[in-house]
């Protein structure tokens, strides 16, 4: 019991700090990658290659004057950054980030809390984040902030459905909602991105929308709504929203790595998930997990500096008319296929089943691309000519 408590506290402390440092580095990476994509250099003055820029930013934000609008609801105005900040961090608690670590006192699983309901917990907590944004918009007593908050709620609720639906396929295949079991399942067979390619595509698009990143950053929309829900926020409160956004990105990326890319699994070898746990395995699997997460984070940034923002009706059309029906029909098709393979042929999840499902996915993906490639999303909800 003592061992469990002590190890949990240490893990919490380490994970919290790693995420905070990661978020800080991510803000720097965002600015530098943006600069590189625009043929500039980006911030490179504070410390070697600008590595201390986040520290300077943090210091600036702490020292800045904090303004509070006269007509704002003080309690909610203060509460809102916390409400968006905490779920972003808490979600990470159930994601396993490395293989178990052997210590002198026993084996420590490398996850803060390996909840049996892991995935449901993530869905539950991540939808709490929207409250922070809506409350911020409401409490500011500013019409643009309120519009931003409203947009955020509409957008996140719409895309949450598609996101949840797309992960049902993962749960069907894994037969479990515990994330460590989902990873174990992928280590025995193939990564779920292969048998569930289309599910991954839906999840990825929804995750972009869930984290309010471009091309789905309508809640912020600096051109239309000044800065949306955080118009009235300054200094550290503003910074909290910023940290929350980036923590959400980290969590979403880690989740994509976990659900579809084998979590901390090192590909093409069973060395990492069989035999006794060693420190070397823990470190290498941690590196593999970080690398996968980083790849998604980079994609986030890459997409942000490429795509323009959606129009509001396009956003809604994409969410409700494309992603939701797509996710629903995808589950139906996949469930039928899985049932057929499991019950009629009698295979368990393994490379054979994965490859058959991959075939199904490729067919579906080709059909989807063929159907999407006719300007329907850009046309939004305008009438198709008869």
């Amino acid at each position: 019991m003592t061992f469990f408590l002590v190890s949990s506290f240490i893990k919490m402390f380490v994970v919290f700090n790693l995420i905070m440092v990661g978020v800080a580095m991510l803000t720097l990476l965002e600015r530098r990658v943006c600069a590189w994509m625009q043929d500039r250099l980006g911030p490179n003055r504070v410390g070697p290659q600008g590595i201390l820029q986040p520290a300077a930013d943090g210091l600036k934000n702490i020292l800045k004057e904090e303004t509070s609008p006269a007509m704002a609801d003080k309690t909610l105005f203060t509460l809102a950054p916390l409400v968006s900040f905490v779920p972003a961090l808490v979600t990470f608690g159930v994601i396993p980030f490395a293989s178990p670590l052997p210590t002198r006192w026993g084996v420590v699983p490398m996850v803060v809390a390996d909840l049996p309901v892991g995935f449901l917990y993530i869905l539950a907590i991540s939808s709490l984040g929207v409250y922070g944004i809506v409350l911020a918009g409401w409490a500011s007593n500013n019409k643009y902030a309120l519009l931003g908050g409203l947009r955020a709620s509409a957008q996140m609720i719409s895309y949450e459905i598609a996101m949840g639906m797309s992960t049902v396929a993962v749960l069907l295949l894994a037969g479990n909602v515990t994330l460590s079991q989902v990873i174990a399942q992928q280590q025995h067979g193939l990564w779920f991105v292969l048998p569930l390619t289309l599910g991954f595509v839906i999840f990825f698009v929804s995750a972009l929308a869930e984290t309010n990143r471009l091309p789905f950053d309508l809640p912020e929309a600096e051109a239309e709504l000044i800065a949306g829900y955080h118009t009235e926020y300054s200094s550290m409160k503003f910074s909290m929203f910023y940290i929350a956004e980036y923590s959400n990105m980290v969590t979403a990326s880690a989740l994509m790595a976990t659900l579809f890319f084998g979590g901390w699994d090192i590909p093409f070898t069973h060395w990492d998930d069989t035999g006794d746990p060693t420190v070397l395995k823990t470190l290498l699997t941690l590196a593999a997990f970080s690398l996968k997460t980083f790849a998604f984070l980079f994609t986030y940034i890459w997409v942000r500096w490429t795509l323009p923002r959606f129009r509001y009706d396009q956003l809604m059309a994409l969410g409700w008319k494309v992603l939701l029906p797509l996710a629903l029909s995808y589950i139906t098709i996949l469930a039928t296929a899985i049932w057929f393979i499991r019950v009629q042929i009698g295979w368990l999840y393994g490379p054979g089943m994965a490859l058959i499902l991959l075939g199904v996915n490729v067919v579906l993906l080709v059909a989807l691309v063929w159907w999407l490639d006719r300007g329907r999303i850009v046309s939004g909800i305008a009438e198709e000519p008869a």
């Binding site: 990658v33 600069a35 590189w36 994509m37 625009q38 043929d39 500039r40 250099l41 890459w302 997409v303 500096w305 490429t306 795509l307 129009r311 009706d313 691309v369 999407l372 490639d373 006719r374 300007g375 999303i377 850009v378 046309s379 939004g380 909800i381 305008a382 009438e383 000519p385």
Partner: protein
């Protein structure tokens, strides 16, 4: 239909969000690896593509003769022509009857750097210079006196292109 958005009829290639997205992603990624155009200012003040023009009109400079005295004869043409009225000149005369400036001050804050003072100067004494870094810690340091004007060492502006003096 709640909101009717008018959409122009365009061919598929132009309206396909998918193709446009992929094309855009490829483009931004290719820019990621291209050489950067940023000039790292305090360390690097000119590059092979860009240098300060020799016709740049910046911080003033008073030229001196062989004895190290200012060439200025206090004729009063520069304060006369100065459109910003930033030159203060009090003329004096020595025993041989040579005129020289008792006080010669240029307020760099008022100056609009038109370069008329250099153009009008019959002795080629006052010049605008190819120089732009003149930050100070207090406002009164921006009034340059004669001593400071003669102490400047930066190259003076040519005002016109030496290879094309008439601007053709």
């Amino acid at each position: 239909m709640a909101i009717g958005v008018k959409v122009m009829k365009r061919p598929t290639e132009q309206t396909s969000y998918l193709r446009a997205t992929l094309k855009g992603m490829a483009l931004t990624f290719s820019h990621l690896l291209r050489p950067k155009v940023t000039m790292q200012y305090p360390e690097e003040k000119s590059s092979k593509d860009w240098t300060l023009s020799s016709r740049w009109r910046g911080t003033h400079r008073m030229l001196t003769d062989e004895q190290g005295r200012a060439k200025c004869v206090a004729c009063g043409l520069c304060p006369q022509i100065c459109p910003a009225n930033c030159i203060k000149l009090v003329p004096g005369e020595d025993e041989q009857g040579n005129r020289y400036p008792l006080i010669y001050e240029i307020d760099e804050f008022r100056c609009i750097f038109c370069g008329y003072c250099q153009e009008v100067c019959p002795e080629e004494a006052i010049h605008v210079g190819v120089h732009y870094e003149n930050s100070e810690y207090s406002r009164d340091r921006f009034v340059y006196d004669l001593e400071r004007l003669t102490a400047q060492t930066h190259p003076v502006s040519t005002l016109w292109d030496p290879s094309d003096p008439k601007g053709e």
